[in-house]
């Protein structure tokens, strides 16, 4: 399980804005292996979302080199290498939950019968059986976000990219979804890139934590988690967990030392 899926070398990205150029990423080097759960954590403006968007070919680097499954991000998108989950569920209000999950399948041209089959499977995967015929507004925020995860899983990409997917939800719902996400990860063996603001969330979920710091966005620390893959919620009270969280906090503080 040490096959690299995403490799970034000397990645630079500079946005041209009206206030002059803004360096969003500088000299980012990172390897993500198959089956990893990698969290990106850091303050606003540290480039964590930008890096995720570069992987997804939603932004294009101005320097350096990145491969996804050995291809350029654009080619990887064409070969349906990843599913992307945004901060908001972004379900279409005029489609049912099943209709929303079918959206990528319709665009990618899956046959009708297979669409139904896949919708059924992913709804089961996110514990939303029986909600296919409901409209988004009939579901709670947490259920909507689960539906959007199901939508990203529907076409069975190997990589799941998640941009603060639980950021808008309350802590209790978030805990629950984190547990479910770990279970889903264990079952599907996917590689997950996960952007978050929350130290406990990053430590609880990840096998690898990438601590980033802002202006310009760069990697401050990469922590390989010593925690086992099997993680009950109580693991958050163990000394190992607290030690990792401490190191993340140190990394974040170091990134801020100059201001």
């Amino acid at each position: 399980m040490t096959e690299p899926v995403i490799t970034a070398e000397k990645l630079d990205l500079t946005f041209q804005t009206n206030d002059g150029p803004v360096q969003a990423l500088r000299d980012v080097n990172l390897t993500i292996n198959k089956g990893d759960f990698v969290s990106f954590i850091g303050p606003s403006g540290c480039g964590k979302t930008t890096f995720l968007r570069v992987i997804a070919a939603l932004e294009h680097p101005t320097g350096g080199h990145i491969t996804v499954n050995g291809m350029t991000p654009d080619e990887a998108r064409q070969s349906r290498a990843y599913g992307y989950v945004f901060q908001a569920a972004g379900l279409y209000p005029w489609r049912t939950i099943a209709g929303n999950i079918k959206l990528p399948l319709e665009i990618m041209g899956f046959p009708k019968a297979e669409q139904e089959e896949r919708v059924k499977n992913v709804l089961q995967l996110v514990d939303l059986e029986g909600f296919g015929k409901k409209y988004p507004w009939q579901l709670s925020g947490g259920m909507q976000q689960r539906a959007s995860i199901a939508r990203a899983l529907a076409f069975d990409a190997d990589i799941l990219l998640m941009d603060e997917p639980f950021g808008a939800l309350d802590e209790i719902v978030r805990d629950h979804l984190n547990e479910q996400l770990l279970a889903l990860w264990a079952r599907t063996q996917k590689t997950i890139g996960f952007v978050t603001h929350s130290i406990p969330e990053a430590v609880y979920l990840s096998t690898k934590i990438v601590v980033m710091s802002p202006r310009p966005g760069r990697i401050a620390d990469v922590i390989e988690s010593p925690l086992p893959r099997e993680r009950p919620l109580e693991i958050r009270d163990t000394p190992e967990f607290i030690a990792v969280a401490h190191r993340v906090r140190e990394g974040l503080r170091a990134g801020h030392s100059y201001d």
Binding site: A56, F86, L103
Partner: protein, 287 residues
């Protein structure tokens, strides 16, 4: 009952004001007539006369109602004096103009959203087109089309379309642009084409905006059709009734035609509203 009562109160208040206005405005003529005949009129005599003149400055509501009754129910609908006949003439031009205007408006909006050159160039012209008084341009449209052999309902429909395309363009452009960056990015991650983005995201997102525009547009269509009837020599249609009424000082006829036009507009907007509710409900967008 909770919804009817306030509406009824306003209607009653308006009718009372209307009667007061009719008495006040028509009293001068009554007094002049009496003075000429050398008669003295009591107050009740003045009031009674002001509400039953043949050509009052302001006809009383019951006079207008009687005229409406006579020219709709009591005339055969093929008669030249039937408001139903004239209403249908105007309605057919309105509906044709509305169809043309809506179609043109949607096409322009699609162009504006998808083509940068159109975005920069078309919108200022669309806005400029609405600053020209329709009364000034309507006769020219009639004359120009007539000279190339186009007569009948089409010139009126084009004037009607001229007024109704604008709200549709504005509403549709806003609607087609209503999906946010995240929703567009999502489709990008699926490798969706421009056509798919339009069909699956932009078009459905624009529906609430479209219907709001259609309500404004259909009322504007009716105004356009009526204005289009004025320069044609007052032959047929509600506009013709308005014009011939003013030629011959038939104020009761003018007011009856006005009320008929208002009722028609209300009915048209109501129909669009019903279609809106049915469509959005089918789309699951109405809770």
């Amino acid at each position: 009952m909770n919804r009817i009562l306030p509406v009824l109160t306003v209607v009653v208040a308006l009718i009372v004001l209307w009667y007061l206005g009719a008495v006040a405005m028509n009293a001068q003529w009554t007094r002049d007539q009496a003075a000429r005949a050398g008669q003295e009129l009591s107050f009740t005599g003045i009031v009674a006369d002001t509400l039953s003149q043949d050509r009052p400055k302001l006809p009383a509501p019951h006079q207008v109602a009687a005229e409406l009754w006579q020219t709709t129910v009591q005339k055969s609908i093929t008669s030249k004096r039937s408001l139903v006949y004239h209403g249908w003439v105007t309605l057919s031009a309105t509906l044709l103009g509305f169809a043309i205007g809506t179609g043109a408006g949607i096409l322009l909006a699609v162009g504006i959203v998808h083509n940068r050159a159109m975005d920069m160039s078309v919108m200022p012209w669309a806005i400029a087109s609405q600053t020209i008084p329709i009364l000034a341009i309507a006769p020219m449209i009639i004359v120009v089309l007539n000279s190339i052999g186009i007569q009948g309902v089409l010139p009126k429909a084009i004037i009607s379309a001229y007024l109704s395309f604008f709200p549709v363009v504005v509403g549709m452009v806003k609607g087609l642009r209503s999906p946010d960056a995240m929703q567009l990015d999502l489709l990008k991650t699926y490798g969706a084409s421009g056509g798919e983005t339009f069909r699956k995201l932009r078009l459905p997102s624009s529906m609430p905006y479209l219907f709001t525009s259609l309500k404004v547009g259909i009322a504007a269509s009716l105004v356009g059709a009526i204005v289009g009837e004025l320069p044609t020599g007052a032959v047929r249609g509600l506009g013709a009734r308005l014009l011939s009424g003013s030629y011959y000082g038939q104020t009761v006829q003018i007011w009856a035609a006005l009320i008929a036009a208002a009722a028609l507009a209300a009915a048209l907007v109501g129909v669009v509203g019903l279609i809106q509710r049915a469509t959005l409900k089918r789309m699951g967008m109405e809770r």
